[in-house]
Symmetry: C2
Subunit: 419 residues, 2 copies
């Protein structure tokens, strides 16, 4: 069989799901093409550390080519999927059209403002490296501007930080801003006291981290309070603009607002003509294929999948396990075996709040405080792809932990720079 | 004496010169304000390593506030100097006006296209972190685009890299592109052979690195040839556009052109009304003050200063020594001592060509190859500010050296990204 006669599997997206699918084809008799619109795989669970100047972008990202270098049946292309002709088995990219025998869609999610896209300018979300660098820029610039401001009201506005959304991302960001102000910046300014910064975490529901047990949510609130973060639940944001946030009748003046509230599927799902939910997520079959198109699979954050009557969460574990099964089902087709249905094996979940504080829920085990944080640290360093990143991240963390310094406090991409 | 009665020294620029001046005021009875338009000091000699994905931006930059944290008489402000009222002793910033008793200007240089500013779009220079990230993006994207290109002529154009200017920056960049192609990317692509990339170094004069001895220039050419860089001297660039470079009658098609040819003083010097040379550099007095304004000093790349009938080079050593003397002369004024005139103590110069290859000239000692590279490495790591950066840079280098990997191969700020 000539190489070009081998079945062509196209994977769109080099996140956790796409990468796991690609790896599952190692040594298989297929040609694999992996497409991503960036050149790097991003270790998203640590993205908030880039936003808070603890890590550099390169420390949580690795070139996809490099990760897959040894797998000779894979070609990596930098391109962006615009739509799919499901009936013609064609993927339409920005630069070309690709024919496929099997397609695995793994393009993930993007920030959703629930119909208020005009809020994006004032309250960036945190989904990729550019977002993280932009948030880092805004937070650091707010302290710089406060140092120069003589009007006490404006100074207060500059030193108020609002994080919208009490999920894991929002909690991590709020905790990290508090640490940045309290430990890192405290000694660097002359005219302001960064410790006086006010950090607010707003949650619409009745408790933060609602996917965890109520007792752990409570522990998280305590940890956040210890760091100086005020947590407000049951608050509905009705407007966001350049000077703050409106909650019905109430107005909170804040120069920096960060959006951690919503995720929806990337726009690609809307072009397919298959059923999607309100967040644009594809309602996939039990074998992870698209309804009516058994040679096309979708996995991870862009999908909606129920198990035991409950939707699966949008976490990397789900995407990775789905990636493995989608690849396995393609290999099963080729070997004439029956396809398997997806069954998520929940290995537990964790959220970090700050230095030495986290919560973790693994089956019936519930951890909080320092033990949970150690578990979080080990798991995250372990899963960071590549020894080098593992090492430098560990070094940076140890350094930050013992010295209260941060390495990546750069304000770059200043709009006002000379050219 | 109340604190506000102390003489107010304003320093504009947190580069090597400005930082040295600031440090020279340690424990002195003055109030110092240091202004910079970025929040970080940049270790410019390693900027080419960021452009070539060897180091991350944060590894060669440190927050100015953090560097000067312990010096209690200094306030650091993030702002940009727009002009100076020399007669009123006022510095006009973007956001405010500052009164000063003494002023030290240390704003450095910027890329000069010798009247062809339209070339900037096609051939970025390398002066700050944004430049470096932009060059990294272009170089990495050229390889990505070549991997997708089927037309052989266009593929050749995408794999041709032209560096204009045979000074230290141009030589470092050309050598680093060659290494990136030959060692780092070689195994990652399927459809192109990155080793086949053509790298051209164009120099207008009769030899590259003309500030060094002719024998060292020759050695550098040999090193570059070994790496696969073609060096062409006596070539005058007459045009640059999106598809390449024109040299009189000759046309070189190249998707990536980098400008390492010219530096001029920042625009601030033009607003002062004092004599400047063609490159906008201030013709300063022997005590480093501005002609007619003894309480205002200018130092470093923004100045023109002759010693023994020869202009001083635009290197960090000159800026640092000038910074120290400008501060000393202000302290001399305060203590009633006479001012000193500037006398540059040349500690030698170095240029690196690539892995294990450099040239160095220290007095009458001339080194090349591995010994020069070791000297270069030690000096540069030593002078990198702060232990942490020193450590991580050393680690990254050791890692790159032994594994032929690079850590910072990120393409960020893609103009075509989804939002």
């Amino acid at each position: 069989m000539r190489k070009n006669d081998l079945p062509h599997v196209v994977i769109v997206g080099g996140g956790f799901g796409g990468l796991m699918a690609a790896r599952a084809f190692n040594r298989a008799a297929v040609r694999v093409t992996l497409i991503d619109r960036t050149n790097h795989h991003l270790f998203q669970p640590l993205l908030y550390q880039v936003a808070m100047a603890g890590l550099s972008p390169a420390e949580i990202a690795a070139p996809i080519r490099s990760i897959l270098r040894r797998q000779k049946n894979i070609t990596v292309l930098l391109d962006e999927a615009e739509s799919v002709s499901l009936r013609q088995n064609q993927l339409i990219l920005r630069d070309r059209i690709l024919d496929y025998d099997y397609l695995i869609l793994a393009t993930g999610g993007k920030t959703s403002y629930f119909g208020h896209d005009q809020w994006e300018r004032f309250a960036p979300g945190l989904k990729d490296l550019s977002d993280a660098v932009e948030i880092r820029r805004r937070v650091l610039l707010a302290f710089e501007a406060a140092e120069k401001e003589s009007d006490p009201d404006l100074k207060r506005e500059l030193l108020t930080f609002v994080v919208v959304g009490g999920g894991p991302t929002g909690v991590e960001l709020a905790g990290a801003i508090a640490e940045l102000a309290k430990f890192v910046l405290a000694r660097d300014f002359r005219r302001i006291d960064p410790k006086s910064a006010e950090i607010l975490l707003l949650e619409g529901g009745s408790r933060i981290l609602s996917s965890f047990a109520p007792s752990l949510s409570e522990k998280a609130v305590n940890h956040l309070n210890d760091l100086g973060v005020r947590v407000r639940t049951g608050t509905a944001v009705t407007d966001i603009d350049a000077t703050g946030v409106t909650l019905g009748e109430e107005r909170i003046r804040a120069a920096t607002v960060i959006w951690g509230a919503g995720i929806r599927a990337t726009d690609l799902t809307g072009t397919l003509g298959v059923p999607v939910d309100r967040a644009g997520r594809i309602l996939i079959e039990p074998d992870l294929s698209l309804p009516g198109f058994p040679n096309t699979f979708a996995i991870g954050d862009m999908t909606y999948f129920e198990q035991n009557g409950k939707p699966l969460p949008g976490v990397s574990q789900v995407a990775m396990q789905m990636g493995r099964l989608a690849a396995q089902n393609i290999l099963n087709d080729m070997s004439g075996s029956a396809r398997q249905t997806f069954n998520y094996n929940d290995k537990g979940s964790m959220a970090t709040i700050g230095r030495s504080a986290a919560i973790a829920e693994i089956g019936k085990i519930r951890l909080s405080g320092f033990p949970a944080w150690m578990a979080w640290l080990l798991v995250h360093i372990w899963f960071l792809i590549g020894f080098r990143n593992r090492f430098t991240v560990m070094f940076n963390w140890a350094w930050s932990y013992f010295t209260y310094q941060r390495g990546a406090r750069l304000i770059t991409e200043d709009q006002n720079r000379e050219r």
